[in-house]
Symmetry: C2
Subunit: 424 residues, 2 copies
């Protein structure tokens, strides 16, 4: 039943059937949310013992001798630097452990470079009036929000199945010194769920940017977030950059927001000695130190990196059925209609659906009216501008499997209805 | 025994006696620290139950219905906004509860205005090439660090016993639109321990700055930090500013760093609707929300503002003997010598000592050699430049009373020795 081959009477008939189905859902007064990559209460419950991992009876001393209750320790406690160095695949000395938000560390990084030159012979980005940032699309709306806030022109770069289109990236970056960076979610990308291929990582590591202060914002948010038994592998960006004398290119970020508590986890970043020198110079004026007690709480909870990986298996158990529900529903309802495509990721938090051209906003609107909240259409593009109005990000983590199944049924009806409306 | 009236032989004899005393201390191999306003382990122990105030058995829901473990809640949970609104003497709606550091909130505030104009008809401070900030001296080195980092020329303003010299402030601020703000620790000021008089607060509230975007950075760090039974009273800056149509002038800050855990407390800020609009516009890109679990932990620990005040009584009990030891030792050792003056504050974390002219650095050096670490000479002035080389900040909180007594004996010997050396 390829919609594109249907006659007008067939489409009208199909619309009638879909409307009936849709109205049936409408009458149920549902309230379901697939908008944000929020862990479910059950996932948060997995870390419930984090509340007790540091009681008044326990030692509040870090292994490097900090009374974690008191001031100090700008770069974080050694226990956490060690664990995060393994997630970020670099040396503990190149890791700064932060507060509860890696987004905040990314924001502060861009904010730092806005007013502070990265090198003696470069200028603060504020001075670059036509500053630009590369934004692989579809991508993460909060990334685009940061560079949008700081007045960057955001240049969309197509995302392929193996990462950003490197022909485009290489050309732009080598030609235009006002391009200061690129946003990357290299593993289980937000929202497509794809992982950058070895070739893409190698080409990123070998970039020859016109701007000496071009940086790769490497948001490795889903580094350990598999949802299938065939996890993706990501090449080490630090190694690839070093091979090409590009060790200052990447700045890598991660957090436990989707490991322990989204609102009360621990974030970390890693980069070259040079970049960290510039960033720590700022940090030493910006704070006396991040929350070491929460770091210690996390270190005691996980014990070590292996403990953290074991913990992630429990998330996988909860998330795997949700991802398969999304894929199953999409497949059952939309296969063969020729109006939608979607990804089937091995990890992360999202499934990306491309609906029929120019109907994404209509699908989101129809869903909303039926009680299903989705990420706004266009959100995965800089300035909310999806030129084809096709991409919708599905976030399956928060609802229960039953709710999700219901929400996906509604979603699929809306995808079909919007397509039929457009085709008539 | 007024040193200034001594003859050279008398001074030489005195130096001999002092050197003997000093060498006696040297031989003891002491290691004492009065450098930073760090709470003592005993003070931190007062909040030990904070570790247990939110266990895995307790509800993690805030009173306004947040699952504090999850994302969201940019302005903080209502329980904490309420408590902090009472400390900062404003409405809860005008309070943002932050992470673990009020210094960080101040830094982010300046950072925000560096790249974002405060009004449609003003420019981002980065554009103001000769931007300046008023710095009452002696003052807090970390304040000066922030504006120094952002390239402000820092203009020292004399601190009187009732606050900054308002004649100077009014004149400068009304004449020069490149002056963008003033740093204030209005209660138990760092380091002098004085509290701004009603008249000073009234004159600050009535300022007519040439710069529409001039701001008062009101760091009310010691709002509830009394150490005597005759606490100071501070006039409400918000009220005074409002009376003069100046409600956008002040931005107020505080934290529990010296109430619960210095490294793992909760910070807050308050300001006018307009200022908060500008700051929250940034904040919504900078983070999804601060650590609500730590907020909830604090709210449960204190129960309410009255609970927090009761908790402060325990700090007073621990700090009062330390402050009186400092004052007693200064008085016993230096009264009548005519080479030093000091403050005798009713609260806060510091005693400010002005030693004999041009000897502060020598005193710090002598102390260091005898095992007593003080805040660096000059630290209380912008760029570390104390033109009279006289001011030394004493931080009595961290050492025990016995250690402090010993450290103060050494300090006084060093003050005398440096003065005698200078007078010979």
């Amino acid at each position: 039943m390829n919609y594109l081959n249907m006659s007008k009477p067939e489409l009208l008939k199909e619309r009638g059937a879909l409307l009936k189905e849709y109205e049936n859902y409408m009458s149920k007064g549902l309230s379901l949310n697939m908008a944000r990559g929020k862990p479910s209460p059950e996932q948060l419950d997995l870390s419930q013992k984090l509340f007790d991992s540091l009681s008044s009876e326990d030692s509040y001393m870090s292994c490097d001798g900090f009374d974690c209750r008191n001031y100090g320790g700008l770069e974080g406690i050694s226990e956490c630097r060690d664990i995060f160095s393994k997630i970020l695949e670099t040396e503990p000395e190149n890791v700064i452990v932060g507060g509860n938000s890696s987004l905040n560390m990314m924001f502060d990084t861009i904010s730092c470079f806005m007013t502070t030159p990265l090198y003696e012979d470069t200028v603060a980005w504020y001075e670059v009036k036509d500053r630009k940032f590369l934004c692989p699309v579809p991508g993460y709306d909060r990334h685009f929000g940061v560079t949008g806030y700081f007045g960057f022109e955001m240049i969309p770069v197509p995302m392929n199945e193996d990462g950003p289109d490197m022909d485009v990236v290489e050309k732009l970056v080598s030609e235009d010194s006002s391009i200061k960076g690129i946003w990357c979610v290299p593993k289980y990308s937000n929202p497509t769920g794809i992982t950058f291929s070895d070739e893409v990582v190698k080409r990123l590591g070998a970039l020859k940017p016109a701007a000496k202060d071009f940086r790769i914002m490497w948001d490795n948010a889903y580094a350990v977030h598999d949802v299938t038994d065939t996890p993706d592998k990501l090449l080490n960006i630090f190694d690839e950059c070093k091979k090409n004398g590009n060790e200052d290119l990447p700045i890598s970020f991660c957090s436990t927001s989707k490991i322990t508590f989204s609102g009360a986890g621990v974030a970390a970043m890693a980069s070259s000695d040079h970049n960290l020198k510039v960033l720590i110079k700022r940090l030493q004026y910006a704070t006396i130190g991040y929350d070491k007690i929460n770091m210690l709480r996390h270190a005691r909870f996980f014990k070590n990196y292996e403990g953290l990986l074991k913990h992630m298996d429990k998330h996988k158990e909860l998330l795997a059925p949700k991802f398969s529900t999304v894929i199953k529903k999409l497949s059952e309802n939309l296969d063969g209609l020729n109006i939608a495509e979607w990804t089937n990721p091995n990890g992360g938090y999202f499934v990306s659906v491309n609906v029929y051209k120019n109907t994404a906003d209509r699908v989101v609107e129809l869903c909303k009216e039926a009680g299903v909240v989705l990420t706004g259409a266009g959100a995965t593009f800089p300035n909310g501008d999806d030129p084809e109005n096709r991409n919708i990000r599905i976030a399956p983590s928060f609802p229960s499997v039953d709710e999700l199944a219901c929400a996906m049924d509604i979603f699929c009806v809306c995808v079909k209805l919007a397509a039929v409306e457009a085709l008539i």
